[in-house]
């Protein structure tokens, strides 16, 4: 028997940093592999096919069938719409990008003053930052930008947003929020609420949605400072009636975020995906830093550049959000540009 020498690590941490580096690499690789796999799985299967929960597309008496909870027609429709967002929030790839781009309610530029502005409209200062959908479900929260790319994947105090909930939220609990992520204070400013705790607000008026947003968000603890199970703070934005004092407050009032224009929401409008005249945006140099280009030194160059998109219908539009129609090219020029376009 070889003489035994039992030595234990003395005044040493149990794990070496090199081992930690290896393990973190493996974790990253596993995550990337999962992402690549997920992307592959979803590229072809158009996301809308997730609606196959609808009974007619199921083969009869299939063993794979699981019992679906009976729902009334109406509920089921609303649910499947929300389900799409939740499912899609986990997907990758260009299909998803297109899909997400279609899901947000997008304002038009304000080019005239709507009737009954003071009575029927809200106004608030739009936070500068990344517009995104924040979806919490199954114990995690994912934020996605308009292009479908994931901004953050994190635990949050939103219902079903972290794995530590006390079980108060049911398995079907989830939230979908329309947000702007403000880099400077790392806060999600919630500008609209689409679903809350499993309850769909798509078909509710802006008036109700904003009321619900203001009461529920605070209650949930999502506005608290970040912690281990709540990585980013959420905050509602101050919304005003569009009378002159409201307008004045929104335009000049001090807010904890950098402003990027004013948003106007019609009180009676439902949450409508895509561009809508029932939501409007206004920008000028007083309320947005992005209204005029500046160079690296912060000075305004003598010429402003603009990139235009030539659409299939020969229209030239800006890449603003929303796009501004600039003009229309005639067929001749298009013809001449033909070869160039093919190159692109």
């Amino acid at each position: 028997m070889a003489p035994h020498d039992i030595r234990r690590p003395f005044k040493r941490a149990a794990i070496s940093d090199q081992q930690k580096r290896r393990e973190l690499s493996l974790l990253r690789q596993a995550q990337n592999r999962r992402d690549a796999q997920q992307q592959a799985r979803c590229l072809a299967s158009s996301i809308l096919s997730l609606q196959s929960a609808a009974p007619e597309s199921q083969p009869e008496q299939s063993d794979t069938e699981i019992e679906t909870v009976p729902e009334s027609e109406q509920e089921s429709e609303a649910f499947s719409k929300d389900l799409d967002v939740r499912q899609a929030s986990k997907l990758r790839g260009p299909e998803v990008r297109k899909w997400f781009a279609r899901q947000l309610m997008l304002p038009e530029w304000m080019i005239d003053v709507p009737d009954r502005l003071a009575q029927d409209w809200y106004v608030f200062a739009r936070p500068a930052g990344k517009r995104c959908f924040v979806v919490s479900s199954n114990g995690t929260t994912v934020s996605r930008q308009r292009n479908g790319s994931i901004l953050h994947h994190f635990p949050s105090a939103l219902p079903a947003g972290a794995k530590i909930r006390d079980g108060s939220g049911s398995a079907q609990s989830y939230c979908i929020l329309d947000c702007i992520f403000h880099e400077l204070d790392q806060t999600y400013y919630v500008i609209d609420m689409v679903c809350w705790n499993g309850y769909s607000l798509y078909d509710c008026t802006a008036e109700f949605r904003f009321y619900w947003l203001n009461s529920k968000l605070e209650e949930s603890g999502a506005c608290n400072a970040p912690s281990h199970y709540h990585k980013f703070r959420f905050s509602a934005v101050p919304v005003y009636n569009c009378d002159s004092s409201g307008l004045y407050s929104a335009y000049t009032g001090v807010v904890p975020y950098a402003k990027d224009g004013l948003l106007f929401y019609n009180k009676h409008a439902l949450y409508q995906t895509g561009n809508t005249p029932l939501a409007l945006v206004w920008k000028d140099e007083n309320c947005s830093q992005y209204v005029i280009d500046t160079d690296g030194k912060g000075e305004i160059p003598s010429q402003q550049q603009v990139v235009l998109e030539l659409q299939d219908d020969r229209k030239l539009v800006t890449s603003d959000d929303p796009p501004v129609l600039f003009g229309c090219l005639d067929g001749d020029i298009i013809e001449k540009m033909g070869s160039l376009r093919r190159l692109i």
Binding site: K11, A13, R28, Q37, S57, T64
Partner: protein, 870 residues
């Protein structure tokens, strides 16, 4: 028929290198020319009483090396060679070996013992040499004592070599009887008793049945305990080693003896010589290990899930055990902190105290606090150090509620001791204790923070100051800073370390340049801490992390300047390069994780890659693991642009894949192939022939460590997904490798470790299938996969029915079912419907608690419903 080997063996030990070389060559030649004669001659030399002792010993050693080797594949070859050796030769060799056991020359006897055990290790599992144990046992009853001693030693080695199931219980009983008799106090010869005690240590694993029998167990335990009282120190030590082994092998049988064992260990710890006392302490450490494992398995709720009940020996012994361990803390050696290999009673006692704290939790605190209070300010450094060490030891285990009030009181004292105590030991242990405080009681897991804005500044100032202290103290200070930074991870967008970030980084870089940074692994600790500070940094300090990039690049550049290095210098260079590549890896991963920082970082990508390539070029035969890991991170950050580095990088990639010796390097390189596949996608095609060929070679090699094989399969999936239908070229080979591995891994028979390995293998295979199916999706070549579908479904059904897959495999497996349905569609519809997987397995996954499994299952369900509805 034997050859004269004495002269050659003498020459083989010559001090003249040329003579030695010559002799070694001749020995090799003999062996190749006529192996049986060579081995017989060696055994003859060993047995021959006329020959000089040196040649006898060496003959035995060469013989032993002809039977066993460290490397698994070489060992296997030697075993096969022996089994196929001529029967006559083998009998002659064995006869010589047994004769040698009775030799008056002790070196010859002990060499023969070892060789016999090696032969037994090969033959007994094949039911050969059945008379061996019988003839050994008959020796035991013979005189002289020296033969008896050699025989007991042989039995011990034999038990070490063979596994318990190859010896039947009847023979086990006889071996144990002989051994235990040899150990008993009635045995007058010390050497015999020592050999018997050491033999028992190896034979304990054979004594399952005997330990289940009360009478036999009582007898063995009595003899072992008696041997701990022997007048011979080596016997006492060996007897305590037996107790240590018993404590882990037969924990559940110890209850009747634990009181007696406590008494004898306590006496040994207080009075006996150090080697004995160390083993006595180790007994309690080992009991702690057992109870920690059992309690962990209970997982807090007493459902009785663990096979072995917890007897709470430590909890019961606590009032006596803790004072005994605290006493040992005062027996420090001077300079133990500078000596890497030091291990003494104070160190063992403190380590045991830490394990006790983890075992019993809160209960230990009131027993240790008075000791700390009494000693922490005494003039004798030993008392101050012991008190500090005691405090540091109990910081893991007890609840934060219990510890935080203590820490709040102690923190200021500790910080002052770290700067002002005149003794380096005390400072070393104080810095270590601060590290433990931050490791266990600071961060998001703790509700009431021990670090406030007010003392954060002070803590950092003190730690940075201590980094200028002696290397051992500075190293501990770095360690404390490591855990301080770690505690602020995921604390939100703003870290309390932000205001100090620049200063911390600067101080750590200064430490790495200290003349004496090579001592006490100080330089390593400084870089590790720098890594952790970077990992846990926030967006606020991203610009500062960016500034670090050119600094570390310059450091790495400087390591490349040296010319014509000695082998010692080369090793140091390589180590430093490892640290710097590691640091760059961490930085790349950090900056690459967010778009704005990645964008700025990418300006350095070309230069960094250039440096990594030069690091590779420093070595001729192997690649640097850390550089490889860093390149993986870089490939991920760079994306498709990484293609421009491939022409130069490819040869190192290949070299890494060929490194079977350092299998970690090989494994890391396989992971990097995955990174590159995802980054390059179809641009990897030009390199695929080489990579796939090497990967297939690796799979079929029995020299490559098995842990690398599952990731190789996963890597097939990565490549297939990247190149799509181009994978057709390798499909036949890949599928056949996958198929045979799948067949092997369907059923598992073996221990937990094998179950774990098999599951990782299954996961690799399944990831490969997923990648291949998804890669071929929507291509006109999809039908190429149809012939493989039945086997893959069979594999899925097979592992499902085995009921031993883990959650990861379950998730991947159900995903493969979906991928198969998704890609093959209606071609596989009826096949899928017939499989068990599409019914029971899928349903089980759909109702799984695990969200990842559920998600994959829902996807599979959708894909299947599409496939069978078309």
């Amino acid at each position: 028929m034997a050859m004269e080997v004495t002269q050659v063996l003498l020459h083989a030990q010559s001090i003249d290198g040329a003579v030695r070389k010559n002799a070694e060559d001749s020995l090799k030649q003999f062996q190749e020319q006529n192996l049986p004669v060579f081995l017989v001659s060696l055994s003859g030399e060993l047995a021959n009483e006329e020959k000089p002792v040196e040649t006898r010993k060496l003959a035995g050693l060469v013989l032993k090396n002809a039977l066993d080797a460290k490397e698994q594949h070489r060992k296997f070859e030697l075993v096969q060679r022996w089994l196929s050796l001529d029967g006559n030769a083998k009998s002659q060799i064995k006869a010589c070996l047994l004769t040698t056991l009775t030799s008056p020359v002790s070196d010859a006897r002990s060499t023969a013992s070892q060789v016999i055990a090696k032969v037994a290790g090969i033959e007994l599992p094949h039911k050969q040499w059945p008379e061996l144990i019988g003839s050994l046992l008959s020796n035991v009853h013979q005189l002289p004592a020296q033969a008896k001693q050699a025989t007991l030693e042989t039995l011990g080695y034999l038990c070490e070599e063979v596994s318990p199931d190859v010896i039947d219980q009847d023979q086990v009983n006889k071996i144990l009887t002989a051994v235990v008799q040899g150990m008993s106090s009635s045995e007058g010869n010390t050497d015999v008793r020592l050999a018997a005690t050491r033999a028992l240590y190896n034979a304990l694993g054979f004594a399952q049945a005997n330990f289940s029998n009360d009478m036999e167990r009582d007898y063995i335990m009595r003899v072992v305990c008696e041997a701990t009282l022997s007048p011979e120190v080596r016997i006492r030590q060996a007897a305590f080693e037996c107790l240590v082994s018993i404590s882990s092998t037969y924990y559940e049988k110890l209850a009747p003896y634990i009181q007696d064992i406590f008494n004898i260990t306590a006496k040994a710890v207080r009075e006996d010589e150090e080697p004995v006392a160390l083993q006595a302490i180790e007994f309690w450490s080992s009991i702690c290990d057992e109870e920690i494992d059992i309690l962990e398995e209970y997982g807090g709720d007493f459902t009785g899930d663990s096979d072995i009940p917890c007897f709470y020996f430590i909890k019961q012994a606590l009032p006596a055990l803790v004072p005994m361990l605290l006493e040992t803390l005062l027996k420090q050696e001077e300079d133990q902190d500078q000596d890497e290999g030091a291990w003494n009673i104070a160190m063992a006692g403190g380590t045991c105290l830490g394990l006790v704290a983890r075992t019993v939790g809160d209960d230990i605190v009131p027993l240790v606090v008075p000791f700390i209070e009494e000693n922490i300010s005494k003039p004798d450094w030993r008392q101050r150090e012991a008190a500090t060490y005691a405090f540091g030891s109990i910081l893991e285990g007890p609840s934060p509620e219990k510890l935080i009030p203590l820490v709040n009181v102690a923190l200021t004292f500790m910080l002052s001791a770290l700067t002002k105590d005149p003794n380096s030991h005390v400072k070393d242990t104080t810095a270590w204790t601060l590290g433990r405080i931050f490791e266990f009681l600071h961060g998001s897991v703790v509700d009431s923070p021990i670090i406030s804005q007010a003392n954060c500044q002070q803590i950092i100032t003190v730690l940075l100051q201590s980094m200028k202290d002696t290397p051992n103290v500075a190293e501990k200070a770095c360690g404390a800073l490591y855990f301080l930074a770690q505690g602020y991870e995921e604390m939100g967008p703003s870290s309390p370390l932000t205001p100090f970030f620049q200063e911390i980084v600067q101080s750590l870089l200064t430490v790495t340049h200290r003349e004496d940074a090579g001592e006490s692994r100080l330089r390593t600790a400084a870089y590790e801490t720098l890594n952790e500070v970077v990992r846990c940094s926030t967006d606020e300090t991203a610009p500062l992390v960016l500034q670090l990039v050119p600094v570390i690049m310059m450091e790495l550049h400087n390591t490349l300047e040296g010319q014509k290095l000695s082998s010692d210098e080369r090793e140091k260079q390589s180590e430093l390069q490892g640290l710097l590549c590691g640091c760059l890896q961490v930085i790349i991963q950090k900056l690459g994780a967010s778009e704005p920082t990645k964008y700025v970082f990418m300006q350095y990508a070309d230069q960094i890659m250039g440096l990594f390539l030069r690091v590779f070029a420093c070595r001729s035969a192997t690649v640097h693991e850390e550089a490889m890991l860093a390149i993986g991170a870089l490939a991920y950050a760079t994306g498709a642009d990484f293609a421009k580095y491939m022409p130069e990088f490819y040869r190192y990639l290949e070299m890494g894949l060929q490194n079977f010796e350092e299998y970690q390097v090989c494994a890391v390189t396989v992971g990097v192939v995955g990174d590159i596949s995802r980054a390059l996608e179809e641009k990897i095609v030009p390199y695929c022939d080489g990579i796939m060929t090497q990967l297939l070679k690796n799979l079929s090699s029995n020299q490559l460590h098995r842990s690398v094989k599952p990731p190789i399969f996963s890597c097939f999936g990565d490549i297939a997904l990247a190149v799509g239908e181009y994978f057709e070229k390798y499909l036949l080979w890949a599928m056949s490798a996958l198929q045979s591995a799948a067949e092997l891994s369907t059923h598992i028979a073996g221990d937990d470790e094998l179950v774990e390995y098999t599951n990782s293998l299954r996961n690799g295979i399944l990831e490969a299938y997923s990648g291949i199916f998804q890669g071929f999706k929507n291509s006109p070549k999809t039908q190429l996969l149809i012939p493989y579908a039945p086997h893959i479904l069979q594999f899925l059904d097979g592992i499902y029915m085995e009921k031993d897959m883990d959650d990861v495999v379950m998730k991947t497996a159900i995903g493969v079912l979906g991928d198969l349905a998704d890609t093959l569609g209606s071609h596989a519809g009826s096949m899928i419907q017939q499989s068990v997987s599409s019914k029971d397995f899928l349903n089980e996954c759909l109702s799984s608690e695990d969200l990842m499994i559920k998600e994959s299952a829902e996807w599979a369900k959708l894909a299947i419903s599409r496939a069978i509805s078309v």
